[in-house]
Subunit: 339 residues, 2 copies
Amino acid sequence: MLRIPIADLTHHIERALLNLGLTPDSASLSARLTAETDRDGVRTHGIARLPRFAEMVRIGSIDPQATPKLTTSFGALERWTGHRGPGNLAAYAAMSRAIELAKSHGLGAVALGDTTHWQRGGTFGWQAADANLAALCWTNTMPNLPPWGATTPAIGNNPLVLAIPGTQPIVLDMAMSQFSYGTLASYRKRGEQLPFPGGFDDANHLTTDPAAIERTFRALPIGYWKGSGLSFALDVLAAMLSGGRATHQIPPDALQEVGISQIFLAIAPTSLASIQELTSIATGAIDALHAATPIDPANPPRYPGEATLHTREQNLRLGVPVDETQWQRVLDLALSSKL
Amino acid sequence: MLRIPIADLTHHIERALLNLGLTPDSASLSARLTAETDRDGVRTHGIARLPRFAEMVRIGSIDPQATPKLTTSFGALERWTGHRGPGNLAAYAAMSRAIELAKSHGLGAVALGDTTHWQRGGTFGWQAADANLAALCWTNTMPNLPPWGATTPAIGNNPLVLAIPGTQPIVLDMAMSQFSYGTLASYRKRGEQLPFPGGFDDANHLTTDPAAIERTFRALPIGYWKGSGLSFALDVLAAMLSGGRATHQIPPDALQEVGISQIFLAIAPTSLASIQELTSIATGAIDALHAATPIDPANPPRYPGEATLHTREQNLRLGVPVDETQWQRVLDLALSSKL
């Protein structure tokens, strides 16, 4: 593992994105969002995803120059289309617009159709929390989980983000699967069993064996039937509001997972009370959470996003940890001539 | 089990509520909502809860005549207080107001503080879906689950409702606990193990033994750390927006579980597209869900709320199933003189 100063990391990502055909402004913003993902320790969704993004641009799945456009609106609710441009930029624009709407109306929502992978969902939660707004966002995905009671994939893992502003922002960023396929692969490579059942084996039994789940492609939704139902409802609502694709219409192929639907809902609590008053409510709840008796005193209960500020500070000070092979891919993309 | 015609059921509940001191209008609406809960097969949250409601009125936890009032508003976002009146009536009024706001602004939210138990959360999802609106609502509760990593209760099971309109409305109504304490008690009384681990035993091991979980009071959030984080975030957002209590401030006593905080968010998809267009998106997703290969062909995958319309039709035709003892309690309350 290397540690790269964030300025260097951002610079080389930006060079790579310019080579992939993004405009200077787009490359600059996307590079910042990607570097900040690694900076915050979410290493699965930062530069780790850049090679796939490059390949999707190369084969035409993603249009590097497309920008999101408003198609329909009514009051504080808007429908936008992403035109299959870079998904993190479309999502950032959608959340920016939802924030504007919330500042005018108390709350606002942008339903974004025909977009592409948003990379780290938490990015848009932090975007809202940093502006003193709360947010709820979610995305649908290709079918990658069986619904409860079935053996074939028909629902997405549909990450859900919930953000709350404050001096200690609360930012939840969770997929509807108990473990991602990336996590299953990590456990398998280390020769380890999962800490909890993560899916079904060929005999319809729950298993902690990651390889068995990779074979059946039957990963488990959180809470069994509950996460299955929540994932389905989030998908239908995203498709309905955006007028875009539902999960069953998204090709089950990582390089063709485009035309997806997302919701960005911002709420302005400061339209109702002072930020001090709001923050004290959150702080009281955080203190009570921390006061619960821990199973292991070395690992007390934490709130969503709690570790992020510490990780961020450390990585800004010491350099952002990056995998050597992934960093080489960034450098290659940064040095290559235009596609 | 008896089957009571819905008109009789509603009439006797209404008599009981009048005896408890509700105004005629309040008693009429609350009786309808309660009877409809049993009519839809959610028997844990209909007349089953009436004796507890009566006791809470008797000891002064619930003010039977209090009505919800607006306290602050900004655009499409409003803060109301429930004044500890009947919780289902305050929730119904809050969702009615959120629907009005959504019709004017595309979306609208009411944050309701200082209220009491809303009985069946799904009621307010159906309320929105029946008006062709989508809705997200949730409530906090007293601390009844340990956060992930802790042994003592510090988060609520905070039911979440997500409703989507259409010819086949999708209405999800789920608590953040994998199994309720009511469900644990049912399994224990039948001498059965849970189908999946539902909590921890004294030795910090996950267990399917309902009695062991009742002893530790360590029921499991859905998705382990994920549901724990979601429950916490929903609680803080509800308290922050309503200006009311967070879970840690709610007494851990069923008869004193008052002053709770709830969110009612309505979205008007018909402000963006025709109901036919919207319905076809939902129908396509439902058809795809049903096309997944079932584990057991007799139990194909279902969408949230799918069974409700069938149960409702059957119970309207044959009478609403009620437990004999619970029905006797309704009759007793209906016949008793005023408190």
